[in-house]
Symmetry: C2
Subunit: 209 residues, 2 copies
DNA sequence: CCTGTTACGATGCGATCGTATTGCAAAACA
DNA sequence: TGTTTTGCAATACGATCGCATCGTAACAGG
């Protein structure tokens, strides 16, 4: 996002990514505490301890800031998933569906922000596209994990992997798991359900594959 | 909510409930189209074709109006459920969990508004209490329906009803069904899932009880 | 040192917000 | 026919909003 003709000149060197991240994190705090309604450039600036001018400099408009907060949230979740790369498919599957269950205050904040964006996505097409892409990615990854897990167990039984055509059974399983995880997450978030119970329900569901 | 010493004097007779409902319906339209962020007294007044003064007269403050829209939404859903009073438990159960799946534009509007309130409930304790009470009611009703359905089938097999102690199995089934319905509803709402597929998944889930 | 570019704080503007206030028309009662 | 009470439209007000603009400090290259 530099000027079109960047040739190495950059006075006043600062870490742009660091600055942007500080502001996005403050944005998340504001959303978690006051909802998306409570987001104003002044509030975010105060929470981050910076001036409004800085936010304008790095994000331009409020809409761009809010959207950047959404993409950062998605990428942060994806980063957490990649750290499980060397686990068994079944463990990774359980991580995908139960990672969002809020267990501590940090988790509560993340999932509060996520739900705020979900609601916003109903009326905001840019946010909707970001979340739709993330959901499609999660769905496809779940399908892969379900098939990998099934193949693992088929190998134990001496059979080869199934056909590679699209797998409606696995797709439906994935959708069911993810939808169930979303619903349980909400109930934990509003205090209607204990985190442990939600996780154990998801474990049971994954175990029945 | 009349003056404390009402003795039948009431000039300028109007139907208060009708007036309130017109305003609440306009509020729902605004929420469905622009989200809760887009709610302002002026917008709602314009959508309802009335003056701001009337909204102030009937609801006082914006916060009270938004909360009234929430309780009206809950009661409207409850009214829809009571119309199924003379159906079999299993049919009623399917209605409870699949009624919120949006099938037409009216359904989409209702569930958009509902999701907006869900997100708001994270930071608004009054809304949270209304939704929590509704959720608890739905959960208890589902438990009743699941047990009634089970007893029906036990009667066919010649056995009596089970014990009346709290039923952890039925409770967990109810929670799982409702959470799954919430997650599927969201996916249909944002266009990631066809309504028919969501309903058929819920039918399969209810059928496996 | 000089010049150019970047980073960003400070400030101002017009729009919009929720709400308090005011005033008046219509209807019930005296 | 007043009088009173209600229903509501109109408007005024102060706060807050997003954003544009301006000024300047910091630094790189010449």
């Amino acid at each position: 996002m530099r000027p079109y003709c960047y040739r190495g000149r950059m006075p006043r060197v600062v870490d742009h990514e660091q600055r942007r991240w500080e502001i996005v994190y403050a944005l998340w705090l504001v959303i978690a505490q006051h909802g998306i309604e409570g987001v104003s450039l002044r509030h975010v600036a105060a929470e981050a301890g910076v001036s409004m001018g800085r936010i304008q400099h790095y994000f331009g408009t409020k809409e761009a800031l809010v959207l950047a907060g959404c993409t950062s949230l998605v990428q942060s979740a994806y980063g957490g998933y990649r750290e499980t790369a060397d686990a068994a498919p079944r463990e990774r599957l359980l991580h995908v569906v139960s990672q969002q269950i809020p267990r501590d205050d940090a988790g509560r904040m993340g999932v509060s922000v996520w739900y705020a964006y979900v609601a916003k996505s109903i009326n905001d097409s840019a946010v909707r596209q970001v979340l739709a892409e993330a959901r499609r990615g999660a769905e496809e990854e779940c399908v892969r994990l379900i098939r990998a897990d099934r193949d693992d167990r088929a190998d134990l039984a001496g059979a080869g992997p199934g056909d590679d055509a699209d797998d409606p059974a696995a797709l439906q399983q994935a959708r069911r798991l993810l939808a169930l995880a979303d619903g349980l997450t909400l109930r934990v978030l509003v205090g209607d359900l204990e985190p442990a119970e939600a996780v154990s329900m998801l474990e049971a569901e994954v175990g029945r594959l």
